[in-house]
């Protein structure tokens, strides 16, 4: 899959309708959004506002009804998917960080991160080299041979961030990554995400309702009734 110049992610007029006729529900209505490489933006909104639907559309898990999405400079959706293999799209071009780390319990830390490059047909040695590089950057390289069950919650979350970065995706989608953490650890995770975004020129969208981390965003998208409103954030430094 040819990768165009990384320009982050742009969404224009994206909508998603569930059902048909009288029972149809518009989960997303004409959503516009843009995240530049190296930028971390927040996506906030009350429950049922459409955050998760938007995340699923961005993650190529569900198909939007209308709109256009550009990822890393390439149009991936324009009234329909422009890429056949959505699994490969997710593997190579989108990183995921979840509320819980969801690491593969039977793989050690190094191979949890190396799995994605391996799935993308990279040689094992190169994939593990990439894994170690990311683990070093995230300060968990010393736990490379440990199983996920042997790590603390914070360490697990850092490994999941490393996994999301493994295939150098232009965008990372983080679904409430700080929800189970206390303030200190939540801010630490945000610090890491900001560092990684800057270091690897990755656009990061963080879905959250965590009041502790909202002040850290420079830019926010507030989603209400399926529509986004761009807001300026406070951008408190977490470095």
């Amino acid at each position: 899959m040819p990768i165009a110049t990384n320009t982050g992610i742009q969404i224009e007029g994206l909508s998603k309708r569930y059902g048909t006729g009288a029972t149809a529900v518009d989960a997303l209505k004409d959503v516009n959004m843009s995240v530049a490489p190296g930028e971390v933006v927040g996506l906030i909104g009350p429950s049922g506002s459409g955050k998760t639907t938007l995340l699923k559309c961005l993650g190529a898990i569900i198909t939007p009804t209308h709109g256009r999405m550009t990822l890393g400079g390439e149009v991936i959706f324009d009234q329909g998917w422009k890429i056949k293999d959505l699994t490969a799209l997710r593997r190579d071009r989108i990183g995921f960080v979840f509320q819980a780390p969801y690491l593969i319990p039977f793989l050690d830390v190094r191979d949890n991160v190396a799995l994605l490059p391996m799935l993308a047909a990279q040689p094992d040695a190169k994939a593990r080299e990439r894994s170690m590089e990311l683990l070093e950057a995230l300060d968990v390289a010393h736990r490379a041979n440990a199983l996920p069950s042997e790590l603390s919650g914070g360490e697990q979350q850092r490994v999941s961030i490393a996994r999301a970065l493994a295939n150098k995706p232009p965008v990372i989608l983080a679904d409430e990554p700080t929800a189970p953490l206390d303030s200190e650890r939540a801010l630490a995770v945000m610090r890491i995400l900001n560092q990684m975004a800057a270091q690897y020129r990755t656009a990061i969208i963080v879905v959250t309702h965590d009041e502790k981390i909202i002040p850290t965003f420079k830019r926010l998208y507030n989603i209400r009734d399926g529509q986004t409103i761009e807001e300026a954030g406070q951008g408190h430094s977490v470095h």
Partner: protein, 396 residues
């Protein structure tokens, strides 16, 4: 590329091993059942081999001496010896009965034979051959008798002088070989009370006790207390003479029934043990179905326990075929563990069975491929479940 299945198995090897052991015991039972059938067939073949005959001559219109009872006069062999192509012909008797030994009764097939003739045990593993005309016996080691022991067959006691091995009836009972005359007496002669009663009955019959015919009553009485019957005549062919041709000649001119080796094998395997074989076949089918159901259930349950991981794997870009491969490999891995344990178990417990259990390599190889096929088939249910997992389940 990492073997996801291999890593998962290594990670939870204890659970895999325990599951494999359960499955293995089931496979072991299945292999043993196949071994029981093979043992029955082998017993039948061994019975024919041990007789050393090319042709079995029995009573007309019977399928004796193993599948049906057969009785013919003990001078028939003389007329057979005169036929072209006959090298040896010898009388034999077969009688399955309880033989009383020093440590209790043993169910055995008592064989009456003539030394140096077909029907004699081919080899001994201990002791010597029978050298006296009466009251000596050679026993199969599975009877538990040892040389020098005294055993009782009907009214007489015999000394065990030798032991042989793998001489069994088609039913798997060990054999005890005794001289033909003793065996005829054991099989056909009545007990003393019955003989006395019979004498009185004959004496009271005016047809046998005529005043003007001296010696008639004694002659009739004597004929009732001697036996000149045997169950079969075993014929060994001279080189270059086909047994089938002689069998046809005997059937046509001697008013007897003759079976070749192939026909006798057909009688024993296709008819005598046919019902037992079908019974075992049914058990094998049921066990195979139960094994498949258990493997399917285990793999399915294991897959359901990994739904979240599968959703994450799918979300982060793992193709369905990779996940299907992981489940299939785990199912096959379980099958391999189960087969190894099953084969070991069957090999360990087979000698403990009272009847011969023959575990053939061919059956084991076939069993292995069947287990693999069953595991692959059983994994489809789990693979289907994995394909249905929505990657969005990882997001919530």
């Amino acid at each position: 590329m990492i073997s996801l299945a291999g890593r998962d198995i290594l990670h939870s090897w204890g659970r895999f091993l325990l599951t494999g052991m359960g499955l293995g015991l089931l496979i072991g039972v299945t292999l043993t059942f196949a071994g029981v059938y093979r043992g029955m067939v082998d017993d039948a073949k061994v019975l024919l081999n041990n007789s050393g005959a090319d042709l079995w001559v029995v009573q007309q219109d019977t399928q004796g001496p193993y599948a049906e009872s057969s009785s013919l006069r003990d001078d028939v062999y003389r007329s057979l010896l005169g036929l072209p192509g006959v090298a040896q012909a010898a009388n034999v008797t077969y009688l399955t009965m309880q033989v009383r030994g020093p440590s209790g009764d043993v169910r055995a097939m008592v064989v009456g034979f003539e030394p140096g003739q077909p029907g004699e045990p081919a080899f001994l593993v201990a002791g010597r051959r029978i050298t006296r005309g009466h009251y000596e016996a050679v026993a199969d080691v599975r009877t538990g008798f040892v040389p020098g022991e005294r055993i009782r067959i009907r009214r007489h006691e015999y000394t065990v002088v030798g032991l042989t091995r793998r001489t069994v009836s088609s039913g798997g009972d060990p054999m005890v070989f005794i001289p033909l005359k003793d065996a005829q007496e054991a099989q056909f002669l009545k007990d003393n009370d019955a003989i006395v009663g019979e004498r009185e009955r004959i004496a009271a019959n005016p047809a046998f006790n005529r005043p003007g015919v001296p010696g008639l009553l004694e002659a009739v009485t004597a004929s009732q207390t001697t036996s000149h019957n045997v169950n079969a005549v075993l014929v060994r062919m001279a080189d270059g003479h086909p047994a089938a041709v002689l069998a046809e000649t005997i059937g046509r001119w001697k008013h007897l029934q003759a079976y070749t080796r192939a026909e006798m094998e057909e009688l024993l395997i296709a008819k005598l043990i046919a019902t037992a074989a079908k019974q075992i076949g049914m058990f094998l089918v049921i066990l195979a179905v139960v094994s498949a159901a258990i493997v399917a259930f285990i793999i399915y349950t294991m897959t359901l326990g990994k739904i979240r991981e599968i959703a994450v794997l799918k979300l982060i870009g793992t193709h369905g075929r990779t996940i299907a491969g992981m489940i299939l490999q785990q199912a096959l891995g379980l099958g391999v563990i189960g087969f190894i344990i099953g084969k070991l178990s069957a090999s360990l417990w087979a000698p403990l069975f009272p009847k011969y259990v023959l575990l053939e390599t061919g059956d084991a190889v076939l069993g292995f491929f069947l287990v693999m096929a069953v595991c692959a088939l059983a994994s489809t249910l789990a693979i289907r479940a994995a394909f249905k997992v929505d990657p969005a389940a990882a997001i919530g």
